[in-house]
C-alpha cells in the first residue's frame, strides 16, 4: 500500500510541477460550461443534472486520456521491474480518482455560481458523485491502458469507453434526478445498489484484466 502511495505522490508531483496541467483542466471545465450555458441560457433543475454529467464525462475523458501518455517507454520498463502491475494500476486509478474528484468539485462550483443550486439532497448527490468518480476512474484507466497500445489512442479511448460508461451514466443520472428532487423516486436505494453492483463489476474485471493486458 505504501508503495502505491509513493507512486501516486510521484505522479502528483510531476503533475504539479507542470503548472499548465491542473489549470488546463480548470480552464476546460470553465470554457465548456460557458459554451453549454450560452446555448441553454438558463438551467432548470432537470437540465442542470444532465448538463453537469455531460460536461463531467468529457472533462473526465480529457483528463484521464494522458494517464499512460506522458511517460517514456524507458520509464515503463523501469516501473515494470520495480512494481507489480496491480500496484501500478492502483496508483494510476487513485491518482485519476483524485483528478476526477477535483473536476467534480470545480464543475460543481462553476455551475453553482452560474446556474444556482438545484441539489436538495446533498448527501445523495455527494455519494453519487464519489461513486461515479470511482467507477469512471477504474473504467477509464483500464480503457486507456488498452488504447495506449494502438496507433490512434485519443479517439479510440472515447470510442471504446463511451458505450461502456452508459450503464453507469444512466444510474448516475437517475440518482442525480433524485438528489435534485425532479423525480418522485420512492426507492433510491435500488438504484444505489445497482450502481454499486456495476461499479464492483468494473473494479473486479479491471483488477483481473489489467496485469494481463499490461504485459508486453
Amino acid at each position: 500500500m505504501n508503495r502505491i502511495w509513493t507512486l501516486v505522490a510521484t505522479e502528483a508531483r510531476i503533475e504539479l510541477r507542470e503548472r499548465y496541467a491542473l489549470s488546463g483542466i480548470v480552464l476546460y471545465v470553465l470554457s465548456s460550461s460557458f459554451i453549454v450555458f450560452s446555448i441553454w441560457r438558463q438551467l432548470p433543475a432537470k437540465e442542470w443534472g444532465l448538463t453537469f454529467w455531460v460536461i463531467f464525462l468529457f472533462c473526465a475523458l480529457m483528463a484521464v486520456l494522458k494517464t499512460f501518455g506522458k511517460e517514456s517507454e524507458g520509464r515503463y520498463f523501469y516501473y515494470y521491474t520495480l512494481y507489480h502491475p496491480l500496484e501500478l494500476f492502483l496508483a494510476k486509478v487513485f491518482y485519476n480518482l483524485f483528478l476526477l474528484l477535483f473536476i467534480f468539485l470545480v464543475l460543481w462550483f462553476v455551475l453553482y455560481v452560474m446556474a444556482g443550486n438545484h441539489i436538495i439532497r446533498l448527501g445523495w448527490f455527494l455519494t453519487t458523485g464519489f461513486m461515479a468518480c470511482m467507477g469512471l476512474s477504474f473504467l477509464l484507466t483500464l480503457i486507456t491502458s488498452i488504447a495506449i497500445k494502438t496507433q490512434q489512442n485519443a479517439s479510440l479511448t472515447a470510442v471504446m469507453a463511451l458505450p461502456l460508461m452508459i450503464p453507469l451514466l444512466i444510474n448516475i443520472l437517475r440518482l442525480t434526478a433524485y438528489a435534485s428532487g425532479t423525480t418522485p423516486d420512492e426507492n433510491p436505494w435500488n438504484e444505489m445498489m445497482l450502481l454499486s453492483g456495476i461499479i464492483s463489476l468494473v473494479v473486479g474485471m479491471s483488477l483481473w484484466l489489467f496485469p494481463y493486458l499490461w504485459r508486453s
Binding site: 497500445k149 496507433q151 450503464p167 456495476i198 463489476l201 474485471m205 484484466l209
Partner: protein, 337 residues
C-alpha cells in the same frame, strides 16, 4: 437448414386467425341507437351469416347484445345497438369492447372499440338492459392459425425472426467471450481467431435484429426509432463490439492485438449483461415484456406459434454457430489473425 426452411415457410404462410380491425363510429352518446360498421380481417361473414351474433361489453357480464347484424360481404358487416342511457357506475366516458361470434370464424374481440359519452337524461329503467344478455355458446375456429392481436396483426410473425436474432447474438457473443477466456488461459492464437469470428457474425445478427425490430416498430409504434430503452441499449451494445473491431484494426502486432481483444471482449461481455437485461427492466418501455406489455407467453405466443418459434430459435442459433465456424476457417486459411 431444414429447420430454417420450415420456419420461413410456416412463419410466412400459415394465416392469422380472423379478427376485427376497425369499428366505426368510434364514439357516440348513451341512450341512442347506433349502427356500427365493422371491418374484419381474414373473416368470412357471408357463410352462415344468419348466426352472426355481436355484443358490446362494458365489464365481465355487463353486456348488451346487438339487435340486428347484417353482413355485407366477407369483411364488412353492420350491427345495430341500443346504448342504454344509464350505466351501472359513473365515469366521464365508457369504453366498450366489441365482441363478435361466428360459427366458422369463432369469436373475435376488439377492445375499447367505441367510447360512450353519458346521456343528459338518464332513465334508470335502462339499467337492466345491461344484464339481459350474456356472451355464451361461443365458437372457436378450427385449424392451424396464429392468433390475431390488435395493432400487431400480421407483424406477429416477427416473433419468429426478430426474437431469435437477439437470442443468437447473445449466444454468439457469449461463445466469443468464452474463447477469449480460453485465449487468456492458453495463449493460442487460434482461440483469438475463433472469438473474433463469433463477434463478426454476432454483429451481423445484432444489426439484423435491430433492422427487423425497426420495421416492426414502424408498423406498431409508428416510428422506426422512438428512443425506447430497448432500442438504445441494443444500439449501444452493437457500438461496443464495433469499437472492439475498430480497436483491432489499429494494432499492428498480432499477439498484442489478440491480448487486447481478449481483455476488452471479456470486460465488455460482463458489462453488456446489465446493459441488455437489467436496465431495460427497470424503466418503462414500449417493448413487449416491459412496462406491463406482454412478451413471450400469455396470448401473444400460443401453442401454434410455439410450433414455429422454438424451431426458429434453435435454427437461427445453429445458423449463427455454423457461419461463425466458416468465418473462422476462411480467416485461418487467409492467415488473418
Amino acid at each position: 437448414m431444414g429447420i430454417l426452411l420450415y420456419v420461413f415457410i410456416a412463419g410466412w404462410i400459415v394465416p392469422l386467425k380472423p379478427g376485427i380491425i376497425k369499428v366505426s363510429p368510434e364514439k357516440t352518446a348513451a341512450g341512442e341507437l347506433v349502427v356500427l360498421d365493422v371491418t374484419g380481417y381474414n373473416t368470412s361473414f357471408l357463410t352462415d351469416s344468419a348466426h352472426l351474433r355481436a355484443w358490446l361489453r362494458l365489464t365481465g357480464d355487463t353486456v348488451i347484445a346487438a339487435q340486428h347484424v347484417q353482413a355485407w360481404d366477407n369483411r364488412n358487416l353492420s350491427a345495430s345497438f341500443y346504448i342504454p342511457s344509464a350505466f351501472p357506475f359513473r365515469q366521464e366516458a365508457y369504453p366498450l369492447s366489441f365482441v363478435l361470434d361466428h360459427s366458422k370464424d369463432g369469436t373475435s374481440v376488439l377492445p375499447n372499440a367505441i367510447f360512450i359519452t353519458p346521456a343528459a337524461i338518464q332513465d334508470t329503467a335502462d339499467l337492466k338492459l345491461w344484464y339481459q344478455h350474456k356472451i355464451e355458446n361461443v365458437h372457436t375456429k378450427a385449424g392451424i392459425q396464429y392468433p390475431f392481436r390488435n395493432i400487431l396483426a400480421e407483424t406477429i410473425r416477427n416473433t419468429y425472426f426478430h426474437v431469435p436474432m437477439w437470442f443468437s447474438m447473445i449466444i454468439l457473443f457469449g461463445v466469443s467471450a468464452w474463447y477469449s477466456l480460453k485465449y487468456y488461459k492458453k495463449g493460442d492464437i487460434d482461440f483469438d481467431r475463433m472469438s473474433v469470428a463469433f463477434i463478426k457474425v454476432g454483429l451481423v445478427f445484432g444489426v439484423l435484429g435491430l433492422l427487423t425490430g425497426m420495421l416492426w416498430a414502424k408498423n406498431t409504434w409508428n416510428a422506426y426509432w422512438s428512443w425506447d430503452v430497448k432500442q438504445n441499449m441494443s444500439a449501444i451494445c452493437l457500438l461496443i463490439y464495433a469499437a472492439l473491431m475498430v480497436m483491432r484494426s489499429s494494432v499492428e502486432d498480432d499477439m498484442q492485438k489478440a491480448r487486447l481483444t481478449a481483455g476488452y471482449n471479456m470486460f465488455a461481455f460482463v458489462l453488456v449483461i446489465p446493459l441488455l437485461f437489467i436496465i431495460p427492466r427497470m424503466t418503462d418501455s414500449l417493448h413487449p415484456g416491459n412496462g406491463g406489455n406482454p412478451a413471450l407467453g400469455g396470448e401473444d405466443l400460443d401453442n401454434t406459434m410455439r410450433l414455429v418459434f422454438y424451431p426458429a430459435v434453435i435454427g437461427f442459433i445453429m445458423l449463427g454457430l455454423w457461419i461463425s465456424q466458416l468465418v473462422y476457417r476462411t480467416d485461418k486459411l487467409k492467415g488473418i489473425a
